[in-house]
């Protein structure tokens, strides 16, 4: 009897201890990060730029008729709203966002209005505030606002390209670069000794990589702020450059056999090598690289995947997926890096938390695609559709 009593007491103790554990040590389940579809718009019909905003109603109808948003492995399936009632109010709904998908380009807004969709005849330079279309033998072109109004006119041969709020023109020789002023005139012109093979810009620094292995950077007034030839490889060349948004860091993939990642940092007035490493890659084509919007991380193309360099620690990690253009986009205040990877008809949307933890891995069927991030919102371009998805914790 005494033995049975002891067993009962022990069992009761275990039960009490278990209950106490669940009551005292219980931790709520971690919130899951979800991609919640907000709207989807068909961009297959051409909408001329003169009809800005006229398509919003039709687009909303189109969204309602085609509610098939891409399925995320960890997304909560929700019905698409017919209009933008769930628009993220933190986004400026009126600010136009440029897109290009194959031979289509145009602007849309965060609330789902398609401002216009046109077909690219030869080339187009796109920025949030302006765009310019041009021909193959362009000797001049108009710079227009997203509403289609002419902002300025450029009368010079070459092709325009816009970045970081700055407008540039590259001459037919691919060695002459002009920065355009607001009225379309030349703010400054520079004739490089060899052809331009790489480019990136921040508001304060425009960086060009040359065939001869030189990296040249210009400040806003066109003065040379950086002129550096890293060397150290059998074949000189610059395959990619990236400027941090504050203009204090410049990264480059230079040379062939062996190829190097070089990171220059502005100290007082001059740029010095802050980090360099020989790479396993031996690319003979332009490579994709970019700093994140907060300038804290660099994403660059590597044979093992997307290489991530951390500015604070000088540490590196790899996200093992193929790199694509427009790297360096982030979401949730820089917490997540967002990549659109893949080739052919198969794409993957990948969001990683530092250093390389994958929190979203979404398969997409699209031949042409883009991803654009704004805060907690992702805009996906998938062939003939643009889809808005909001990152939410639930």
């Amino acid at each position: 009897m005494e033995e049975i009593g002891r067993k009962r007491v022990a069992m009761a103790g275990v039960v009490v201890a278990g209950l106490a554990y669940f009551l005292v040590c219980a931790v709520p389940l971690q919130k899951e990060l979800l991609l919640v579809p907000a709207w989807s718009r068909d961009i297959s019909p051409v909408i001329p730029s003169g009809m800005a905003g006229a398509s919003a109603e039709g687009a909303a109808q189109s969204a309602a008729s085609k509610p098939a948003a891409p399925k995320a492995a960890n997304a909560v399936p929700v019905a698409l709203p017919a209009a933008a009632s769930q628009a993220n109010t933190s986004l400026a709904t009126a600010s136009p966002l440029p897109f290009r998908l194959g031979d289509r380009f145009g602007y849309f807004t965060a609330d789902g209005s398609i401002l216009f969709v046109e077909t690219v005849s030869y080339g187009v330079a796109l920025a949030p505030d302006v765009f310019a279309t041009y021909d193959s033998l362009s000797e001049g072109f108009a710079i227009r606002s997203p509403s289609g109004a002419e902002v300025s006119r450029v009368s010079a041969p070459g092709y325009p390209f816009f970045a970081a709020g700055r407008r540039f023109l590259i001459g037919p020789d691919q060695a002459t670069v002009t920065e355009l002023a607001g009225n379309g005139s030349a703010a400054w012109t520079y004739q490089f000794p060899s052809i331009v093979t790489a480019f990136d810009a921040s508001p304060s620094l425009a960086v060009f990589g040359l065939m001869d292995g030189t990296i040249v950077g210009f400040n806003r007034s066109g003065a040379v702020a950086l002129d550096f030839a890293p060397g150290g490889s059998r074949i000189a060349g610059v395959y990619g450059v990236a400027a941090s948004p504050d203009g204090l860091l410049v990264a480059a993939i230079t040379g062939a056999d062996k190829q190097r990642l070089v990171i220059l940092e502005k100290r007082s007035t001059a740029y010095r090598v802050a980090y360099h490493r020989y790479l396993a890659s031996d690319y003979r084509r332009p490579v994709s690289m970019a700093f994140t919007e907060d300038g804290q991380r660099l994403a660059y193309e590597s044979p093992a995947g997307i290489g991530i360099y951390d500015r604070a620690t000088h540490g590196e990690s790899v996200v093992p997926v193929p790199a694509t253009p427009r790297m360096g986009q982030t979401a949730r205040g820089g917490e997540l890096m967002v990549f659109l990877s893949g080739k052919g008809d198969q794409k993957r949307l990948i969001c990683t938390a530092a250093p390389d933890r994958r929190v979203v891995d979404l398969s997409l069927n699209a031949k042409r695609a883009f991803v654009l991030t704004k805060g907690n919102t992702l805009f996906l371009g998938l062939d003939d559709r643009i889809v808005r998805m909001d990152l939410e914790e639930r």
Binding site: P193, S194, M211, V287
Partner: protein, 299 residues
């Protein structure tokens, strides 16, 4: 780590140029034509719509663009596929490392035909098909040679085999300009004394289905009263401090080389009273020559 100063670099460039000339004057040229038969649509120094051609444009809609020498592909990009969104006015192009520190750029190839996966190549290996990708007036290939050691562009005709060409350049006119006025000799035979800029309209005939612009000759010489006043040899071009200059011996910035009327601006001279004889001699890369003499009465 910075590049050599311009003057020293030009001396180095001149030295390499001599080597190149020696190489090209021997029994075998240093490089082969990348597209045969060669039909020149632009020569080194040809001015066209605000740009100067720093190579030779070979016109053809057919055939294969081949490596002009053994080498290694250092860079290749298809038109419209630059990940940074950088447009490529050279269209689909490849940079090939050749011998003696020379790199060649093969541009405007037909999209989709560029050999992007090859590395080591032999002379004659295909690089792509002639095309009109990028900023170019017709179909063919733009062939440029860059001397990496000197950091300068070299006239490809110095390293390519002689082209079958028996047509000498044409001297279309000679003019003197002052205070915004231009006087074409022949139209005028006398001028008041003063300082004038001498310019000449010279073209090399083309045997091509299309041309970028009237072709540049290889040499322009100007003599005034029997003394050589200037000599332009279209041998190299070099960029420095944001400016591009032509000619190894006495560099002239490309922006100052042509007058608004399209003549080669040669020299500025004070013409004193009396009879002045101005002689122009031009030569193309094949050695065909032409000269013209003008007599001017300075009052």
């Amino acid at each position: 780590m910075r590049r050599a100063p311009p003057a020293r670099a030009f001396r180095a460039s001149g030295f390499l140029l001599v080597l190149a000339i020696v190489a090209s004057s021997g029994p075998a040229a240093a490089m082969d034509w990348p597209l045969a038969p060669p039909r020149l649509a632009a020569t080194f120094g040809t001015f066209a719509k605000g740009r100067v051609v720093l190579g030779v444009e070979l016109a053809s809609e057919e055939g294969v663009v081949r490596s002009s020498e053994d080498g290694e592909v250092a860079f290749a990009v298809e038109e419209g596929e630059h990940p940074a969104g950088l447009p490529t006015p050279l269209g689909s192009f490849a940079v090939v490392e050749h011998q003696r520190g020379m790199a060649a750029v093969y541009s405007h190839l037909a999209p989709g035909t560029l050999a992007t996966r090859v590395r080591k190549i032999k002379a004659g290996d295909p690089l792509g098909r002639p095309g009109s990708s990028g900023w170019v007036e017709g179909s063919g290939v733009l062939f440029q040679v860059f001397d990496r050691r000197a950091g300068s562009w070299v006239n490809p005709l110095l390293v390519l085999p002689p082209n079958a060409d028996d047509k000498p350049p044409a001297i279309r006119s000679l003019a003197l300009s002052r205070s915004g006025k231009t006087y074409v000799l022949g139209d005028v035979s006398s001028l008041p004394q003063g300082t004038y800029r001498v310019s000449v309209d010279v073209v090399d005939p083309a045997d091509s289905p299309w041309i970028v612009a009237p072709l540049a000759p290889y040499v322009i010489r100007l003599a005034i009263d029997g003394f050589e006043a200037t000599k332009y040899v279209f041998d190299v071009a070099k960029g420095s401090e944001g400016k591009l200059a032509l000619f190894a011996l006495s560099p002239v910035e490309t922006t100052a080389l042509k007058t608004p009327e399209g003549r080669y601006s040669l020299v500025e001279r004070l013409f004193s009273r009396g009879r002045v004889v101005i002689e122009v001699r031009v030569e193309d890369a094949a050695g065909n020559k032409r000269s013209a003499s003008y007599t001017l009465l300075v009052e």
